[in-house]
Symmetry: C2
């Protein structure tokens, strides 16, 4: 029975099923492991249609990982989902400031969302790092502002907020920003879908590639 397979055998079998059912696709050899892991984590083949990568996204991400840059996220769920075991050999610290008491205090005082303030803090702490956004469109909009107005230059933006208010629009704003700044490395998608689980899966797929 399939449940008696070891975890790595289950993963290999899952990938085999995904590839058999999807058939031909448009992804490069280095993009595909990222898209495949997004499908694997969500059981949703739509990711094969909706994901997009800047041309330099994987190069920039792998170099940044190998340098051990900081990783910041907009949710603690992403932190939980990114493999600690895979971060460790690169000496990477992953952080999320949304539950930080200082951020909460400031949010109340300034009457702006904790997501926005957490992104500003992330910009100060890990400006040249990897930014993983899997929940809040406001976080991605603020990150876009930091890049455009304050010259923040992340080594990778994973822009995958989810939802019905602003999520799709925030991703289009990211693509618009990348037309202004063509060297900006990003991975995003089109539409409302996204999520902390998929953002973490993208990061894990990149960590696995960086090991090789």
């Amino acid at each position: 029975m399939s449940v008696h397979l070891r975890p790595e055998e289950i993963e290999a079998e899952s990938f085999r099923i995904i590839e058999a059912e999807l058939g031909a696709h448009r992804w490069s050899e280095r993009e595909w492991p990222v898209v495949r892991r997004a499908i694997h984590t969500s059981a949703d083949f739509e990711w094969s249609q909706s994901m997009c990568f800047s041309e330099n996204a994987i190069d920039s991400a792998l170099a940044a990982i190998r340098e051990g840059v900081g990783v910041v996220s907009d949710t603690t769920m992403i932190l939980s989902g990114v493999s600690k075991l895979r971060l460790k050999p690169f000496g990477i610290t992953a952080s999320c400031y949304v539950a930080d008491p200082e951020v909460a205090r400031e949010a109340k005082e300034l009457k702006i969302t904790r997501s926005i303030l957490a992104m500003r803090r992330a910009g100060r702490e890990a400006g040249n790092g990897i930014f993983l956004i899997g929940n809040a469109p406001t976080a991605l909009f603020e990150l876009i502002r930091l890049v455009r107005e304050e010259n923040l230059r992340p080594r990778l933006i994973v822009g995958l907020p989810v939802g019905f208010v602003g999520a799709a629009e925030s991703k289009e704003a990211l693509k618009e920003l990348a037309r202004e700044i063509p060297e900006l490395p990003f991975i995003t998608n089109t539409g409302r879908k996204g999520g902390s689980n998929v953002a973490a899966a993208v990061m894990n797929a990149l960590l696995i590639q960086a090991e090789q």
Copy 2:
């Protein structure tokens, strides 16, 4: 611009959009907030087709929450996603044993997955509690075995593993179990989709109802 709405306004607007786009549905007044939050967290309307509740699921869950029973999950992502703020007034402790060193040691020794051993431990620690499974089919299969063979009687099983190997089958096994034990309270779905994000969303929706 929509991004300047407060978080609770964004949520209300999201729910309005979900209800407007979905139109008529088959859910009861108390099931709908759970299904709606699953759609909200995933931007995937398929949840309105694929979810299923045992008749007593919500009653049993709300009573258990109000008694402050233990909550256990198969992933730390679920723990991150369940609102600590909402657990606290009920005095509920949420736990996940999959990263427990003892579980890891035993898994190596016995050559069975950590998910299975974490579920056994959860059964010992919180047998009459709420079980949230959002990732591993093996965890749900083991929970089913504990109910059938060792008389474990959870107050709610949220069975939402995701993936291509065993996930759909584990949910059908849960429904089969519920035919043998008609009083077993469960929330699950049909098919491969699932995930820690949706399992956490279901729990949060139940906590909100229990407050009322």
